[in-house]
């Protein structure tokens, strides 16, 4: 066990955070969080609502920059590069660290254009056939190809909620990111659509480093290998999912998992 109880696994971390503090104006939302995210695993952030898990997630690809008055202190690294360094290119960072949101948010464009949006922005396709290939493989990875291949020109907003969320995942995959952040991706979906997304996450594991924020402990137990428990802006405990759920070390974690609060 590492000196810091929060950090600690043996593989090379994809992203590391050290002593991260986040402020919204005067209010401190994240206090001294340090954590490593591995490339091979799915990492779940759990905790009661308002505990800061989503805020912290949005630090990893600097989406907090878009919030007026938000301020981030500390160090976050992607493959050893400081994400908040002045030389870091946000555009490139967000292409490497993709994100899927709580509510499916496809653009009001066709399915094809939704997926092609990222590759087009970043100039990843040299030709039309190249682009077709990228779109097809992204949709296939997201398990949406069979449903979407005959309606590529229809609006993305016309699909069902679960399909929209998989479209958003396909959109993120199309840029070929290294990390995918998922902010409660199933909270707006029904159980069947949720099951499909969970399968999808399982299939994507290993190819991308995946961090998922969830308020659903069962989901964390099902899809993740590592789990971090946040409470009141602090990282209380970070360990293998199995040990968190079977043998939590901190009382707060135990209370939360056994349903005393949350």
């Amino acid at each position: 066990m590492n000196q810091n109880p929060a950090i600690g696994h043996n593989t090379v971390p994809k992203m590391t955070a050290r002593d991260v503090n986040v402020f919204y104006g005067q209010k401190q939302a994240i206090k001294n969080v340090s954590i490593d995210v591995s490339a091979e695993h799915v990492t779940a952030f759990i905790g009661p609502s308002g505990c800061g898990k989503s805020t912290f997630l949005r630090c990893l690809n600097r989406m907090n920059d878009t919030v007026d008055g938000a301020r981030v202190e500390g160090r976050i690294e992607l493959d050893g590069q400081d994400v908040y360094a002045s030389g870091m290119d946000v555009v490139q960072l967000r292409a490497r660290v993709g994100m899927v949101f709580q509510k499916p948010n496809p653009f009001p464009k066709s399915i094809y254009e939704n997926v092609a949006y990222g590759p087009r922005l970043h100039g990843l396709a040299r030709s039309k056939t190249d682009m077709d290939e990228i779109v097809e493989s992204a949709l296939k990875r997201a398990g949406l190809w069979d449903e979407a291949k005959d309606r590529l020109n229809e609006s993305g907003t016309a699909m069902s909620g679960g399909q929209q969320q998989r479209l958003c995942i396909a959109r993120a995959i199309a840029v070929d990111p290294e990390v995918i952040l998922m902010d409660e991706p199933c909270s707006a979906l029904d159980p069947i659509a949720t099951a499909r997304i969970e399968e999808l996450i399982d299939e994507l594991r290993g190819r991308y480093a995946i961090v998922i924020v969830t308020h659903n402990m069962q989901q964390a137990a099902r899809v993740s290998q590592k789990t971090a428990f946040f409470h009141l802006g602090t990282l209380v405990e970070y360990d293998d999912t199995s040990s968190i759920f079977t043998n939590p070390k901190a009382t707060r974690t135990k209370d939360y998992i056994t349903g005393r609060y949350g």
């Binding site: 690809n61 989406m63 878009t66 007026d68 946000v90 555009v91 490139q92 960072l93 967000r94 292409a95 993709g98 994100m99 949101f101 509510k103 948010n105 496809p106 653009f107 009001p108 464009k109 949006y117 990222g118 922005l121 970043h122 958003c168 959109r171 993120a172 840029v175």
Partner: protein, 464 residues
């Protein structure tokens, strides 16, 4: 003044009616041993009930006399002349009556028309008779209404409910004024336009390419046959209001809105927004003055510098440019609303893909907000084509069919003002044509507004 005195008198009498009703209500309360519950309504409601019954009919009589009275008096005055002496209806009658009025009111020491001194006593008599009659009728109705209301007061009389019904009726009447105004506009435009179209065919008006509304006063006059082809006016209106002004207002307004919503620091925004709103608050006559005095000479020297020898000093460009600036805040606030209606998730989704803010704006926000922005632009066009003072002061009167922004064109509103100021003959085609132009303008702006509001509404619903 006479009316004001009558109104004051009637109001005073109604006040007495109120006091009487309230006094009776107070007595009923005393008679019931001072228990408030014994009398259904509080004394003030008894008073108010009596006052309303007294006031309403009297006010209707006075207002009616105020509106139609002058017409009735004039009819009587002109009727007192023999058919041979009677001046032609329209300008001549109007001039004569003005002199008569002037003599009676003492504004005019001496009349030019020999008929006027003879008619003055007739006018004075007709007016005082009419005033007396209307006043007497008003007071009589006031007394009757008041007494009837007073006689109905009982301890169990539901005065409060009655008063509240009356108040509701008043509220309803106030609301109906909007319908009446709309009807008034439509009727007066249609009525005068029909008279115009009896003189000039609608086909010629709507498709003719020649506009010169000067009709001959004498039969032998040259060059004043009168032509009422309004196409050059419609073109000028669209050229200035929908093309030049929009070429200024759409890019500047849209880019301002984008900068304010996407880039500007909240503190900067707090300062910049009122400045934009100030542009909207400048009276149009000020814009007109500025366009005519400052912008038009600049545009003209620019045209001369370009080698145009016949550059006009009242160019379409000068009027259109200034009108465009006037419309900027309008376009900007509509675009602001439209962009704000795009869900934040859409913007976050694009930024999280690694798009820069400008790519997000261009590829996601503006396309998503396009229906709303288009609706706003249509509303702005409707506003620009109805704008009057800028074009009256800075655009010309020459009805040219040209797409040269440095030459002079005229617009519908300019012509309406030109046709209706100065001497008017109310049945000449020249004067009436202004109403036909007004009708076209009204219909054009109405269609634009209804369509634009429908577009904006559908767009808002799409994101709710």
């Amino acid at each position: 003044m006479r009316l004001l005195i009558a109104f004051a008198l009637v109001l005073g009498l109604a006040g007495l009616a109120y006091l009487a009703g309230r006094a009776r209500g107070n007595r009923m309360v005393t008679a019931a041993g001072g228990r408030m519950g014994a009398v259904h309504s509080r004394p003030v409601y008894h008073g108010a009930y009596v006052a309303v019954l007294a006031l309403a009919p009297a006010l209707i009589v006075l207002a009616g006399w105020g509106i139609v009275g002058e017409g009735l008096i004039e009819g009587q005055v002109l009727g007192s002349l023999s058919a041979a002496e009677r001046p032609a209806p329209g300008n001549d009658s109007e001039a004569l009556l003005n002199e008569v009025r002037g003599l009676v009111n003492g504004d005019l020491p001496q009349a030019f028309n020999p008929l006027a001194p003879r008619l003055a006593p007739v006018y004075a008599a007709a007016r005082s008779n009419g005033d007396l009659l209307a006043g007497a009728l008003a007071v009589a109705l006031l007394a009757m209404g008041g007494l009837w209301g007073w006689s109905r007061l009982r301890p169990d009389f539901r005065a409060r409910n009655r008063v509240e019904t009356q108040v509701r009726a008043l509220l309803l009447v106030a609301s109906v004024v909007a319908i009446l105004t709309t009807f008034g506009i439509v009727l007066s435009l249609i009525f005068e336009s029909i008279r115009f179209f009896q003189l000039v065919s609608p086909v010629e008006f709507l498709t003719g390419l020649q506009w010169s509304p000067q009709t001959a006063i004498r039969a032998d006059q040259v060059g004043s046959t009168g032509a009422f082809g309004a196409v050059p006016l419609f073109w000028g209106t669209i050229f200035i209001g929908a093309i030049i002004a929009m070429a200024v207002a759409i890019p500047l307004g849209l880019m301002s809105a984008i900068y304010l919503t996407q880039y500007a620091d909240p503190r900067v925004r707090k300062w910049l927004k009122p400045i934009l709103e100030l542009l909207a608050g400048v009276p149009t006559v000020v814009y007109g003055f500025f366009a005519a005095l400052t912008i038009a000479p600049l545009v003209r020297s620019f045209a001369v510098a370009l080698g145009m020898t016949n550059a006009s000093s009242d160019s379409a460009l000068a009027a259109g440019l200034v009108m465009g600036v006037m419309i900027i805040p309008f376009v900007s606030s509509m675009a602001d609303d439209a962009l704000a209606a795009v869900p934040r998730a859409m913007r976050d989704g694009s930024l999280a893909m690694g798009a820069t803010p400008s790519e997000t704006v261009k590829k996601v926000l503006v396309p998503a907000a396009l229906p709303g922005i288009m609706g706003g632009v249509l509303l702005a066009v409707s506003r620009a084509i109805g704008e009057t003072m800028i074009v009256v002061m800075a655009a010309g009167l020459a009805a040219n069919l040209t797409a040269n922004p440095f030459s002079s064109v005229t617009t519908v509103t300019t012509q309406i003002v030109a046709l209706l100021t100065g001497d008017q003959e109310f049945d000449s085609a020249k004067t009436l044509s202004a109403f036909a132009l007004g009708l076209v303008l009204f219909v054009m702006t109405l269609i634009l507004n209804i369509y634009a509001l429908a577009v904006v509404k559908r767009y808002r619903e799409a994101y709710e």
